[in-house]
C-alpha cells in the first residue's frame, strides 16, 4: 500500500476540516500475547491501520477509529459477519451497517472515503432529499461496488453508492470491494471490468454509472423527483 506524500497531504488538508465527531469500526486480526502485547496477524492489517491512523491523527480528534480484532472480539465479528480482514464498517447509532470497505481508502479512493466520513458526521448529503422521497419504493438493498486502485472512474461510483447508503436510514448498504485484493469475490461475479456495480446480487451495472442509473436500478422504475 503506497502512501505517497501527495495523498498524505490531501488527507491532512481535508481531515483538518472535520468539525463534528465521527467513529468507524475496523476489523483486523490481532492476537494478545501472554505478556499482554498485541500482534496483528494479517499481513495487510499493519499497513492498513497505518493508513487509517493518518486520517485519525489529522482530524483534530474528531475521527475515532475503533479497532476490533476478530480473534479478541469474536462476538462483534459474528454480529457484523466479518469474513475477512481488514474490514472497515460505518455503523450508525442504531447498530445498522451502512458502508463496508473491503478496500483501502487510498489514492483516488481517498476523497469518497473522506466524503463519507463527513456525511456520516452530519454534513449535508447531496442525494438525501431524493433518496428519502423514493425510500418507500426501495426494498432493503445491498450495493456492491467492485473497484481497483487504478480505476479512474471507481471513486465516483463509490462516492455515489456510499452517499446513497448514508441517506437511506439503513435501507441501503454499500459494500466496496477491491477485487485485486479480493480476487475470489471478483471471480465469483465474473467481474473483469471496473467499476462493476451489483445491486442485490441481481442487477449489474458495468462501468461508470451516474447517480440516476444507480437509483433507477434500486427502484426498478422512474425516479420521483423531490422538488
Amino acid at each position: 500500500m503506497a502512501q505517497n506524500d501527495k495523498y498524505k497531504e490531501i488527507i491532512k488538508r481535508e481531515m483538518a476540516k472535520l468539525t463534528k465527531p465521527v467513529k468507524i469500526k475496523v476489523f483486523t486480526s490481532q492476537r494478545t500475547e501472554v505478556d499482554g502485547s498485541k500482534i496483528r496477524a494479517c499481513m495487510d492489517c499493519g499497513q492498513f491501520m497505518g493508513l487509517l491512523r493518518i486520517y485519525e491523527d489529522n482530524s483534530n480528534g474528531m475521527l475515532t477509529i475503533e479497532e476490533l480484532s476478530i480473534d479478541n472480539n469474536p462476538e462483534f465479528a459474528k454480529r457484523y459477519d466479518i469474513q475477512r480482514v481488514p474490514t472497515i464498517l460505518f455503523v450508525d447509532d442504531n447498530g445498522r451497517e451502512l458502508i463496508r470497505y473491503l478496500a483501502a481508502p487510498q489514492g483516488g479512493e481517498i476523497q469518497p472515503f473522506i466524503q463519507s466520513l463527513f456525511t456520516f458526521a452530519g454534513a449535508p448529503n447531496y442525494y438525501e432529499a431524493t433518496i428519502k422521497q423514493n425510500l418507500d419504493r426501495i426494498q432493503p438493498s445491498i450495493i456492491k461496488v467492485m473497484i481497483t486502485e487504478t480505476c479512474p472512474y471507481c471513486p465516483s461510483v463509490v462516492a455515489t453508492a456510499s452517499q446513497f447508503a448514508l441517506a437511506s436510514e439503513g435501507k441501503i448498504r454499500t459494500v466496496i470491494v477491491d477485487i485485486m485484493a479480493n480476487p475470489d469475490i471478483g471471480q465469483y461475479y465474473d467481474a473483469s471490468g471496473v467499476p462493476y456495480t451489483i445491486i442485490n446480487d441481481s442487477k449489474t451495472l458495468v462501468g461508470m454509472v451516474g447517480a440516476n442509473e444507480i437509483l433507477r436500478a434500486l427502484i426498478g422504475g422512474n425516479i420521483k423527483v423531490q422538488y
Binding site: T148, Y153, G210, V225
Partner: protein
Amino acid sequence: MFNIDMESIDLEKTYDLIVLGGGPTAIGCAIYATRFALDVLVVGKIFGGLIATTHLVENYPGITSTSGQGLMDMFKDHMNSLSIPYITDEIRSIENADDHFILHSFFQKFKAKSVVLATGSERKKLGIPGEEEFAGRGVSYCATCDGPFYKDKTVCVIGGSDSAAKEALFLSQNVKKVYIIYRGEEIRAEPINKKRVEENHKIEIIYKTNIVEIKGDNTVKSVIFDNGTEFEVDGVFIEVGAIPNSDLAKRIGVKTNEKNEIIINRKSETNIPGIFAAGDVADAPFKQAITGVAEGVVAAYSAFDYIKEMNIEY
C-alpha cells in the same frame, strides 16, 4: 471534489455560470470563468471525462508525458486552489426563464445566468452480439481500468485510431499478446505511436477485418471475424470512436449537425443566447484535450461578456 463540502454550494442562488461536464474542457472553462470573477459551479457526471482512461498523454503542451488521470489530477488541483465547487450529477433538463436558466437533475435544481455545455462524448459501441452480454466480463472500453485483469492473457483491441494504438501499447505491458483488429488497411495512429506498435513484439495487427460476434460462457472466449473465422481471445477492448453527449442540448433546442455535434461559432456560442458549448460535444474537426480546453476558455470569456451585457442598466 465530489461535492465534499456541500456547505459551499448554494442551491438558492443564481450562479453566473454553470458548466456541465467533468473533463478538461469543463474544468478549463471553470478555471478561467472563476478568474473572471464569475460565480461558477461545475456539474459533471464523470470527473476526468474520457481522457482519464488514457494511460499516455504526451501531446498536452507543457507536459512531456503523463497519464490521463495524472493530467486530470493537475486540473483538479488547479480547480481546488480556486475553490471551484464540483458536483457529481447529471443535468436532465434546462428551462429558459428569461434572464436565467433553471437546470434540473434528479437530485437538485440550480439557477444560472449562463451555461456552458462541455458534456464531452462517450465511447461508441460496436452493436454486435455478445458485446452487451459480456460487458465487464471480457468486453471493455477502458484498458487503464481493466487491463490488469488480463495479465499473461490474450486480448484484442478493435479499432485503428491513435487511441486504439495507445490502448494496445498499454495492454502489452501486462498481457501475453495483443491483436489490433482493424477494418482498414493501415492504422491511423500518430506516427510516433504507430512506430511503437510496429516495434512491439507483443502486438500484431490484423487488417481488413471486422468482428461480428463476441462469444464465451461466463467470460469472453472468442470473437468471430466477418470471414467466419473464430478467433480465441480472453478480452476484447473496443476503441472505435466516440459519440457526442448532445442529447440534453438537442432537448433544449440547441442546434446540432448531422454528427450530433453542437454547432458553435468562434466565440463558442450556440444558437441560444446564454448557452455556450465546447470540447468533444461541439463541432470542431480536430478533437484533443488542448483544443477542448481552448474552446472552454473562449466559452468562459463569452459567458463573461454575455453576463456583463446583462448587468448593464439602461
